[in-house]
């Protein structure tokens, strides 16, 4: 076992750290407050290869290994979870799904444009009445000549209002249940396709979340992603990547909580000494450090499996479940360390808490991760 990063991984950490500190963090508070999407930051990330990190070079990506991909995601997540969410969806849910399931023609057509940041992608699985029970898709796809006609609605879709390309999951034959599902590549300009932004979110306020409405949306047969009947598999493989990215971003968020808390605790004086000198404060800081290290190691373990091409679903669920829960706890503790000041947006920790909150919900709630892990351990599915 080798715990040392390679020289390239170190260089990527350094580059991402610097970019995050100089280009992302300074505007995070204002973007959060005013719900401003990070268009400008994405424009700078594109030419640096940040928007297609793990995509192979032949498709316009940077060809990063999955540990390097996690490192970059951590650093972005440390500075701003909204930007990190945008990337998690654009890179992991959209591009890596196309990379795995796309035909050569689909990959050649879409990946270079996505990886360069020319266009953004999104992933439409959740519906108004379909969340955790993702196989129960209400959106329908009916074949008509050389087109698929899509009808339905998608809810809570990150990047919906910004993406030129959506992966849409739909039911082709209700009688077949999950085996009737299929995935489609749908372009924004398709007649019958529209989006509506969702405002007033608790956190991730600088990320774009929206609804996608599909009304007799005619999609060319060539835009079927994978085969009819494979839709659920496509969705789950996408989540294997999306959850990995969320987990890595949460590691960065825990680090941000720890760094903010250590800095504050050394400066804040009560009872005649810095509060960092009180054991009960150190307990919280120690807990942050331990969960940061544990979460990071779980992420890298899943990344190692991905690099080897071995099954990583369970390792990724474990990393996602642990990191996102730990991030919430760390953000709660960070506010506690900051006292009343932590409750105002003069300090970033209240944003960390609001941002951390969603990570135990999206890409499969913590309960769903537990059920997947529990099924793996017991051999008994508690889903149905």
């Amino acid at each position: 076992m080798d715990f040392d990063l390679t020289d390239e991984q170190k260089a990527i950490r350094e580059l991402a750290r610097r970019f995050a500190d100089e280009e992302i963090a300074p505007s995070a508070k204002e973007r959060d407050e005013k719900e401003i999407f990070p268009d400008e930051i994405l424009k700078k990330m594109g030419p640096l290869g940040f928007l297609g990190g793990p995509i192979p070079k032949e498709y316009g990506g940077a060809g990063l290994d999955y540990i390097a991909h996690a490192i970059l995601t951590e650093e972005v997540g440390r500075a701003c979870s909204s930007v990190r969410t945008t990337l998690s969806v654009h890179i992991s849910l959209a591009q890596l799904t196309i990379l795995k399931w796309g035909s050569e023609a689909q990959k050649k057509h879409w990946l270079p444009r996505l990886a360069s940041g020319e266009i953004l992608g999104c992933f439409g699985l959740t519906e108004p009445d379909t969340g955790s029970d993702a196989a129960n898709q209400k959106t329908t796809a009916l074949k008509k000549g050389d087109r698929w006609i899509l009808n339905g609605a998608k809810m809570w879709i990150s990047n919906a209002g910004k993406a030129e390309l959506a992966i849409i999951f739909a039911q082709t034959d209700k009688s077949k249940g999950a085996k009737g599902l299929a995935a489609f590549l749908v372009e924004r300009n398709t007649p019958g396709y529209s989006t509506r932004d969702i405002h007033g979110k608790l956190g991730m306020r600088s990320s774009n979340t929206g609804e996608i409405i599909l009304e007799d949306c005619a999609v060319p047969a060539a835009n079927l992603l994978g085969e009819v009947g494979q839709g659920f598999k496509v969705a789950m493989s996408g989540l294997d990547h999306g959850r990995y990215s969320v987990a890595a971003g949460s590691v960065g968020l825990i680090q941000a909580c720890r760094e903010a808390s250590v800095a504050y605790a050394k400066e804040r004086v009560q009872f005649g000494k810095p509060i960092a000198g009180f054991q009960l404060v150190q307990e919280m800081i120690a807990r942050m450090r331990v969960s940061e290290d544990a979460a990071r190691l779980l992420v890298y373990q899943a990344g190692h499996l991905k690099n080897r091409g071995r099954p990583d679903t369970i390792a990724t669920c474990i990393a996602k479940y642990f990191s996102t829960e730990a991030a919430q706890q760390a953000a709660m503790d960070a506010i506690q360390v900051h006292g009343g000041y932590g409750y105002s947006n003069e300090y970033p920790v209240e944003r960390y808490l609001r941002d951390a909150r969603v990570a135990t919900l999206y890409e499969g709630t913590s309960q769903i991760q537990q059920l997947i892990i529990g099924r793996h351990e017991t051999g008994i599915s508690a889903f149905v």
Binding site: E8, L15, L48, A62, L64
Partner: protein, 264 residues
């Protein structure tokens, strides 16, 4: 056009510097090392000139193994290759010794232009580029804040920062220029750049290959003898004014800001 950039690896500006017990140096273990910030302007300038006029860019650096990290950063930004002056004999060189070693590495490259940072942020001496220019018998323009290539491609018009204004100088190549903040906006290395950098050549150059002798460089040749380093004085505690009439307190604060802190 062939452009050489001389690069130094220095402690990060935010690193906490601690002296060794014998006060002859600094504790190097826990320091984060970076490319000397002024050298970033030199690298950026070299890359821009190459993008516009073509040619080759070479980064030259002297120091122990760790400096290759800063060299790789330059290669990841887009420099073509590196020469690493690496030999225990080079350690503890003064500015003249360092310039001699750099000159020995650079001469065989016959560059049109040598770019350096205006100074290294560790020792702040700004001597190496000047001595280097002398050793290579080239003209030098220091503290360059703006550079315009001549139409002939063999000269440049440079604006130098001087007290209270700028001096405009024309210089014929080959020349040594030292780069100041404002000359350009250094780029970030890109992910593809980082991946490419690992395949780019960094040629090690020891004392023997450099053609120098042990007396030319290192501690033996040093005309400067460092007696000891002193730590920065502790920051004096802040002064608090209270329980007086406000106008009186303001007067005292302004007086101290002017006379003691000397910042207004």
């Amino acid at each position: 056009m062939k452009i050489v950039v001389c690069l130094k690896q220095t402690p990060d500006t935010e690193a906490t510097i601690k002296l060794t017990a014998d006060k002859q140096g600094i504790e190097e273990q826990n320091i984060k090392w970076v490319m000397n910030p002024y050298d970033e302007y030199a690298v950026e300038q070299a890359l821009r000139l190459k993008e516009k006029h073509g040619g080759e860019t070479v980064v030259v650096c002297m120091g122990p193994d760790r400096v290759t990290e800063a060299m790789r950063t330059a290669l990841a930004m887009g420099m073509d290759k590196g020469v690493h002056l690496k030999d225990d004999a080079f350690a503890h060189s003064d500015a003249t010794g360092t310039a001699k070693a750099l000159a020995a590495a650079i001469k065989p490259l016959s560059p049109d232009l040598i770019l350096c940072g205006r100074q290294a942020i560790d020792w702040d001496m700004a001597q190496v580029p000047a001595i280097l220019a002398e050793l290579l018998d080239m003209p030098q323009v220091t503290v360059v804040a703006k550079m315009e290539m001549g139409a002939d491609g063999k000269s440049a018009v440079c604006n130098r920062r001087i007290e209270g204004g700028e001096e405009v100088v024309e210089v014929k190549f080959p020349a040594v220029l030292t780069c100041d903040k404002g000359l350009n906006e250094p780029r970030y290395a890109s992910l593809p750049g980082i991946m490419k950098a690992k395949k780019k050549e960094i040629k090690p150059l020891g004392l023997a290959e450099s053609g120098l002798s042990a007396n030319d460089v290192g501690k033996a040749s040093s005309k400067v003898q460092i007696l000891e380093y002193l730590p920065l004085p502790e920051r004096p505690p802040g002064k608090v004014f209270k329980e007086q009439e406000t106008p009186d307190m303001v007067k005292q604060v302004v007086k101290l800001l002017r006379e003691e802190a000397k910042i207004i």
